[in-house]
């Protein structure tokens, strides 16, 4: 029985590896094709601003223009760091809450059994 199960697992693993390889190959080929034809522009440039320009509307400079040299990279890095910190902190709080709840439940159960 065990050997049959392991054979089935091996076959499944082989199949999974093949699927992953095909996906990787496909995405590499597509990437190469894309590199050859276009740059990695955002859809707001290639779609939104393109259509707007065709209809006589163009994007204005933002109120606080951080799109100057490497300033935008700096601002994005700071935003990512703060956002990442908040996400990580909140996630940890959520997990800690769960553990706190569990320990209080266990304490309640323990006190009930000692009283009984």
């Amino acid at each position: 029985m065990k050997t049959q199960e392991s054979d089935v697992r091996r076959q499944k693993n082989k199949y999974r590896i093949r699927v992953v390889l095909v996906c990787v190959l496909f995405s590499v080929l597509c990437s190469l094709a894309a590199f050859g034809s276009e740059k990695w522009s955002g859809v707001d440039e290639s779609v939104v601003e393109k259509f707007a320009k065709e209809h006589g509307r163009e994007a204005r400079e933002p109120l606080i223009n951080t799109d100057q040299g490497d300033l935008l990279l700096f601002v994005f890095l700071i935003a990512g760091a703060i956002g990442g910190f908040i996400a990580g902190y909140s996630w940890r709080k959520l997990i800690e809450q769960r553990q706190d709840d569990r320990t209080t439940d266990e304490n309640h159960a323990l006190s009930k059994t000692t009283k009984g």
Binding site: V43, L77, A87, E96
Partner: protein
């Protein structure tokens, strides 16, 4: 005492997993955030009357979100970390450009599907409004005049599409992961369909709305079709992770029923 040992081990393992995620999540997000270009309609693209119209549409939703957040957080303090997590996720995900090899362009997911499911559409809209305001002010991403239009497309449509899809599929007793995937997928596509409608109505001038709308929507498809699938997978992953880690929280948020919790 001996019986508690496997429990302790399990708790320790869970604690370790939580800490690992707590470390890797911010690290991952830190390195993925960079200049993004996608659904945000830039400053000055929409004419004044349309910008005003979309802002007026967005205002009641944002105010209702504010009211709902105050109400829920005054009753239950444990709700705050979840809102914090969702705010950070929506902000970062909507700044995260993802290259789509098949199209040769970059775009970003919205994150409003997952926030719509977990904190409800009203608070999700509020979170999105704040994220979009910070992006418009400091990240040269979107615009202040187009803030209302961006709230409606990403916040209102994304959150409601995600929330309603998830709820509808759950009432049909479909698996949490599959429902999450469909919610994320439809939230993303709903956002871009609305962006196409907003843009077409704003820039059409005297020409008819419908052909321009379809032209813009079709132009979005090569990028957003695969990206929507990715957003679906992300949403499914996050819902499933919370389902395993904090099923009690999902019960509290009416995402799942109490009977579904096996722990």
């Amino acid at each position: 005492m001996r019986r508690q040992k496997p429990e302790d081990k399990r708790q320790k393992a869970e604690n370790g997993k939580g800490q690992k995620i707590g470390f890797f999540l911010p690290t991952f997000l830190l390195f993925t955030v960079s200049d993004a270009h996608a659904m945000h309609i830039s400053e000055g693209i929409l004419p004044f009357q349309w910008a005003l119209f979309w802002s007026l549409v967005a205002v009641p939703f944002v105010l209702y979100g504010l009211y709902k957040l105050k109400k829920i957080s005054s009753i239950d303090l444990s709700f705050k970390p979840l809102v914090g997590l969702m705010a950070a996720v929506v902000f970062i995900i909507s700044c995260m450009p993802i290259p789509v090899p098949t199209a040769g362009t970059c775009s970003h997911p919205c994150g409003t599907g997952i926030s719509g499911i977990l904190v409800g559409p009203a608070i999700s809209i509020l979170i999105t409004a704040v994220a979009l305001l910070i992006q418009a002010l400091f990240l040269a991403h979107g615009g202040l005049s187009t803030w209302g239009a961006d709230i409606v497309s990403m916040g209102v449509m994304g959150s409601f599409a995600g929330f309603l899809t998830f709820r509808a599929l759950r009432t049909m007793k479909i698996n949490v992961s599959i429902a999450g995937f469909a919610a994320g997928l439809l939230a993303d596509w709903a956002t871009y369909i609305t962006t196409s409608a907003e843009l077409a109505s704003g820039i059409k001038g005297d020409s008819p709305f419908s052909p321009l709308f379809w032209k813009i929507l079709i132009a979005f498809i090569p990028t957003q079709l695969p990206l929507g699938i990715l957003e679906g997978a992300m949403t499914a992953g996050m819902v499933t992770l919370l389902y395993k880690k904090r099923p009690d929280l999902l019960v509290k948020m009416h995402v799942i029923k109490p009977g579904e919790v096996t722990i």
